[in-house]
């Protein structure tokens, strides 16, 4: 049977189990869009910007565990994908982006809307392809999905010239055995496992560093067992939230620049770090030269290139976390660390006394921390949050404990403002039964608010909470602390967000008083047919504490002053 390249694209997607794609048409991808009508099993969400398509595919992928798909035309359509590809690349999100391209006969001649997207996207994809012959398509697309989801997941781009989409082929479906070069064989050395057990057995002050890899591997149960068997406190990376229940007595909360003081102090004092599916990013280590100076280090990661990349380790185990931990736990004797736990308890208590929530009720303005606390309490805490980038993202991480996996999605590695609203749309489409909140700053919201129209058109019932502090708050905070309070280009005029919502046909409410929080949140929850928007007007001059200045020692935290030091 003869098929066109355009038909093959959709057939390949169907064979990969894809039933939902996000995209935006244009000339070079038009043959594919024209053929789409023959494939009713695939629903296409028309976004308002190609960046939105990538973040939706990203949110969809993170929340479903499947590969997200975004589609764009050549030239500007393709370049608009780059931010979303980078976001997915740095957070290991499986995604396939398909772009149209000018015909192969015109390649290299600066034809209208020709851009070398394969060259441009080389460093923001796990791999990418330019398809030159229609016969190649089934091979390439099958491999693209395999690459995206295997090993350490990541985005893949497939660039398909228009003549390749229009060409016909009789090619049969290839029988492909996909064992790709570049894939690591995960055979564990039992000597290394023994060494890891010995280190765990000998440690008095161990800490588990729990990262995104735990969620990607589905190793939450093994991590819990490891922590409980050996009485080891667990510190989380931002993307590791949900990997270990945050209200568990062994949980230290988040680590790093805006991590809990207890986490950072414990890491610095530890004599053993067990790093699971995390990559010692500079935002969690601070100054590498003084990072956790007394500890031995065990590092487990599926990506061999991560072992020893930033921090020298004593035992490096390359592998999929869940099976590695299963083997590690086979012969691991139980242990207790009473003294260490008591020390950590004291750090926790000190932090509690400084907590903003203890005195927020005194001031006239609503603090963002209170908003997060209210969202947590009044929703029952059992919802999915998708956060944007900035202060509100850190406050969510500090004040909204996540008890189960897959309940927080955020752009961690790249810190992409504008991520939350489109990503929340993708998340909600993947998990329609869940209550999904997009928590976004006044700045970030304005970057991708056009996607409100997508949410309305598709009837995606997300709850959007804009934390409006009238500033690019996180940048303002750096100006306050490190640039002598010169607030250059951070006060930001915002439109009337509620009228914006109205223009899109979205119900909205505004809240600026703490006694209205509960009723407002419940009112938002009552809307289940489509998106709803809540503007939370909060204190403009607050800062996120604790804060480890960039490049400083991890325990050199700027702390919120204790209340008894404060002038009343």
């Amino acid at each position: 049977m003869s098929r066109t390249g355009a038909q093959l694209i959709w057939e390949c997607l169907e064979r990969e189990g894809v039933d939902l794609v996000f995209g935006y048409p244009g000339g070079a991808i038009l043959p594919a869009y024209d053929a789409l009508t023959e494939y009713p099993g695939i629903h296409h969400v028309l976004t308002r910007h190609e960046q939105g398509a990538t973040h939706m595919a990203d949110g969809y992928a993170r929340a479903s565990g499947k590969v997200g798909v975004a589609i764009a035309t050549s030239g500007p359509g393709a370049t608009n994908l780059v931010t979303g590809l980078g976001t997915a690349m740095l957070d290991s999100v499986p995604m396939v982006c398909i772009t149209g391209q000018v015909p192969t006969t015109a390649l290299g001649g600066d034809a209208f809307q020709e851009i070398d997207i394969v060259g441009i996207s080389e460093s923001v994809t796990k791999h990418n392809y330019l398809v030159r012959e229609v016969d190649e398509l089934p091979f390439v697309l099958k491999e693209a999905f395999h690459v995206a989801r295997s090993g350490r997941p990541g985005p893949v781009l497939v660039d398909i010239p228009k003549d390749v989409q229009l060409a016909s082929t009789e090619e049969q479906w290839p029988e492909l055995q996909l064992r790709l070069p570049g894939e690591v064989d995960l055979d564990l050395d039992s000597k290394l496992l023994d060494q890891a057990r010995d280190l765990i057995g000998a440690a008095d002050r161990p800490v588990i560093l729990a990262g995104h890899g735990i969620l990607l591997s589905g190793a939450e149960a093994q991590v819990k067992k490891l922590a409980e068997t050996c009485d080891i406190p667990v510190s989380l990376t931002l993307l590791g939230k949900g990997a270990f229940p945050e209200q568990h007595p062994l949980c230290l909360g988040m680590m790093g620049m805006h991590g809990t003081a207890a986490s950072n102090q414990a890491i610095q004092e530890a004599d053993l770090l067990i790093a699971l599916g995390m990559r010692f990013d500079d935002r969690v280590t601070g100054n590498l030269a003084t990072y956790s100076p007394h500890s031995k280090k065990i590092h487990v990661d599926i990506d061999a290139a991560e072992i020893g990349k930033n921090v020298a380790v004593d035992v490096g185990l390359v592998g999929d976390l869940a099976p590695v931990l299963v083997r590690l736990l086979e012969e691991l004797p139980s242990k207790g660390h009473g003294a260490w736990r008591a020390q950590i308890g004291m750090w926790h208590q000190d932090a509690d006394e400084r907590d903003i929530l203890r005195r927020a009720r005194r001031g006239p303005t609503l603090m963002a921390a209170e908003v997060m606390d209210a969202l947590w309490r009044f929703t029952g805490g059992d919802v999915i949050n998708v956060t944007d980038v900035g202060q509100h993202q850190m406050w969510e991480a500090q004040y909204f404990p996540h008890q189960r996996p897959g309940t927080l999605f955020t752009s961690g590695g790249m810190g992409t403002m504008g991520y939350a609203v489109p990503a929340a749309i993708g998340v909600k489409l993947a998990r329609p039964e869940e209550e999904v909140w997009a928590i976004v700053g006044d700045g970030g919201f304005q970057m991708t608010m056009c996607e409100l129209a997508t949410a309305v058109q598709e009837g995606v019932a997300i709850n959007i909470a804009i934390v409006n502090n009238g500033y690019l708050g996180m940048v303002r905070q750096w100006q306050e602390l490190f640039y002598d309070e010169r607030y250059n280009q951070t006060p930001m005029l915002a439109p009337d967000f509620c009228r914006i919502a109205t223009a899109f046909g979205i119900p909205s409410m505004r809240v600026s008083r703490r006694d209205q929080l509960e009723a407002t949140i419940q009112e938002a929850q009552a809307h289940r047919q489509g998106p709803v928007l809540v503007e939370m007007v909060v204190e403009q001059h607050d800062a996120v504490f604790p804060m480890v200045p960039a490049g400083a020692d991890l325990d050199a935290m700027i702390r919120r002053p204790r209340p008894d030091f404060e002038q009343a």
Binding site: E143, P174, Q177, L178, R179, L180, P181, G182
Partner: protein, 221 residues
């Protein structure tokens, strides 16, 4: 000379149970030490010979912040399989990181860090030397000493060809310089582990290679 630390089992090819490779390496015109001695990082890889091979490799080297001395790619005996050699001058300690990063590339089959291993490293150089009737004979004589060959003769220049490691080439250039070097070209080094060390595939093949093989089979029949 072989550093014990460099023996990373993940980057070494199958070593086999043959005689110790260090013992078999004492011959060869330029080998003073059994290994390359860690002067520069030398990483060799067996790769699928794809059209995007060079651009992807160079892109990786740039974005992972390597200052690269040379990248060479050449076909091998096996269809569609090439050998890639990357050297980083004066940075032997970067070799392991480079090997790990290269392994992430989709077309890289096996990687071997030869930095401290018994290996042969050679580079081909073409040097156009300015000559007059008197000096031409002198250049010819030097060529004999340095195992060079004159491969082109013109009125005012000769082209000299030689192969060797960095040290030998530097020595040769030194003695030719007084005559006047008009221009030159170097291939960048290629390397092979000595004796029984053999870098072999592990049966993994990308869809690209599988399709190539299908086409080869179709053409043959």
């Amino acid at each position: 000379m072989e550093s014990p630390k460099s023996a990373d089992p993940q980057t070494t090819g199958p070593s086999g149970a043959g005689p110790s490779s260090a013992g078999a390496s004492s011959t060869g015109p330029t080998s003073k030490a059994p290994g390359l001695g860690g002067r520069c990082a030398v990483v060799s890889a067996l790769v699928e010979d794809r059209p995007d091979l060079l651009s992807q490799t160079v892109s990786l080297l740039r974005r992972r912040n390597f200052t690269t001395d040379s990248v060479t790619v050449g076909k091998t005996d096996e269809p569609h399989i090439a050998r890639l050699t990357v050297t980083l001058e004066d940075q032997p300690t970067e070799a392991q990181r480079l090997a790990r990063e290269l392994k992430r590339l989709m077309y890289v089959i096996r990687v071997e860090d030869l930095t401290w291993k018994p290996a042969v490293l050679r580079e081909l150089v073409l040097i156009k030397v300015r000559v007059d009737p008197a000096s031409r004979a002198q250049v010819a004589q030097l060529c004999e000493v340095f195992r060079g060959r004159i491969v082109d003769v013109a009125q005012e220049t000769v082209i000299v060809e030689t192969t060797g490691d960095a040290e030998k080439i530097a020595g040769f250039l030194e003695v030719l310089r007084p005559f006047g070097i008009a221009e030159m070209a170097r291939t960048g080094p290629v390397a092979l582990g000595r004796a029984n060390q053999v870098l072999q595939g592990d049966g993994k093949e990308s869809s690209w290679l599988q399709r190539r093989r299908l086409k080869d089979a179709q053409q043959a029949s």
